[in-house]
């Protein structure tokens, strides 16, 4: 470990906790009240995508929203850098 590393501030464990919670709470709130099948749907879509590309489970976002009076299922997949080229 270099001398500089000693002085560099690593984030405190409390701020790591806070950041993780901020993300998980936001995610759980976004699917709250949505149909029970959503988590399962997400998992199966993930499995299908995995047959073709190796994506991180966190890269798949499923949201249920309202648009002009009807429900819209939104799916977004962030593909890994290499496969995009």
């Amino acid at each position: 470990m270099g001398l500089l590393a000693l002085f560099r501030r690593t984030p405190s464990s409390a701020s790591v906790a806070k950041e993780r919670l901020r993300i998980i709470v936001a995610q759980e709130r976004s699917v709250r009240g949505s149909p029970d099948y959503l988590p399962l749907l997400r998992r199966e879509i993930l499995q299908v995508i995995h047959k073709y590309v190796n994506v991180d489970p966190e890269a798949v976002q499923i949201n249920l929203g309202q648009e002009e009076g009807h429900e819209v299922l939104e799916l977004s997949v962030a593909l890994p850098e290499k496969t995009r080229a």
């Binding site: 405190s12 464990s13 409390a14 806070k18 993780r20 759980e28 009240g33």
Partner: protein
């Protein structure tokens, strides 16, 4: 007017029973007629914390099943005249509590003129926790500044907003408050523990009280005297402030910082 308050959390062991006992005492000490009800069927702890375990003859389930009257099952506190305890049963049968039965008991307490009914919820998000919150007007969500407790509290907030009578009737829902407990100002200062503001920001809810981690809580449960009755304790003062805020007083938070240590203590440690 009776107000039904549920003390809930999702996660177990965070301080619900400790909080129910102290808040019940605090309200009763201020002259309110209070019934505190243990919904933790099968485990039954509240009577121990209240120090009335040897006076339990009939319990909540006995009342629901018609084995006795509510009057026979309500235990009158020996210290505070306006305080009553309804113990949980030790039956293994979780189905002994029914929504209809709970409603009947609550209605009878309301008809009896109680000012407050405190419902000490079991842990989890199953039936017992659901019934404890279902008829509530207000909720005190007990949370420790720790990841799993905060996450579970958020799930409970989700249930309060959807699976309660007030939510279903759409008349403003259940009024929710956070109560942080086992707070350790020294560890917050050193960055090891999330602060009140961190938790408040994540959950987006007002904080009704912050109770410090305190050895007095264990001593209180050993003795069967709710910690709020120990006037020497910071935990007692913190709970009493929370009670005042529940009653609408606007008080600044205390005990968010480590008590100043004396010069010699700082030099020589200890």
């Amino acid at each position: 007017m009776t107000e039904i308050i549920v003390v809930t959390s999702g996660k177990g062991g965070v301080g619900k029973t400790t909080t129910s006992a102290s808040v019940a005492c605090g309200l009763a000490r201020r002259g309110k007629r209070v019934a505190v009800v243990d919904f933790d069927i099968g485990l039954r702890n509240l009577d121990l914390i209240m120090g009335c375990e040897r006076r339990v003859v009939y319990d909540f389930v006995n009342v629901i099943q018609g084995d006795c009257t509510l009057k026979q099952a309500l235990i009158k506190d020996k210290r505070i005249e306006t305080l009553h305890v309804l113990a949980a049963s030790q039956t293994r049968d979780k189905d002994a509590l029914t929504a209809e039965g709970v409603r009947r008991v609550l209605d009878e307490l309301i008809a009896d003129g109680f000012d407050y009914i405190l419902c000490d919820s079991p842990a989890g998000i199953e039936k017992g926790a659901h019934l404890a919150m279902y008829y509530a007007d207000r909720a005190v969500v007990v949370v420790n500044p720790e990841v799993s407790s905060v996450r579970d509290s958020d799930r409970i907030l989700g249930l309060l907003a959807s699976k309660t009578q007030r939510a279903e009737q759409g008349n403003g829902g259940v009024k929710e408050h956070l109560l942080l407990t086992r707070y350790n100002p020294r560890r917050v200062a050193s960055g090891e523990m999330m602060s009140v503001d961190d938790v408040k920001e994540i959950l987006g809810l007002d904080v009704i009280g912050v109770v410090p981690e305190s050895p007095d809580v264990l001593a209180a449960s050993n003795a069967g005297v709710p910690v709020i009755l120990n006037d020497e304790s910071d935990a007692s003062r913190a709970y009493d402030d929370a009670v005042a805020r529940l009653l609408g007083e606007d008080l600044p938070m205390r005990f968010l910082e480590e008590p100043k240590r004396g010069f010699f203590a700082r030099i020589f440690g200890g």
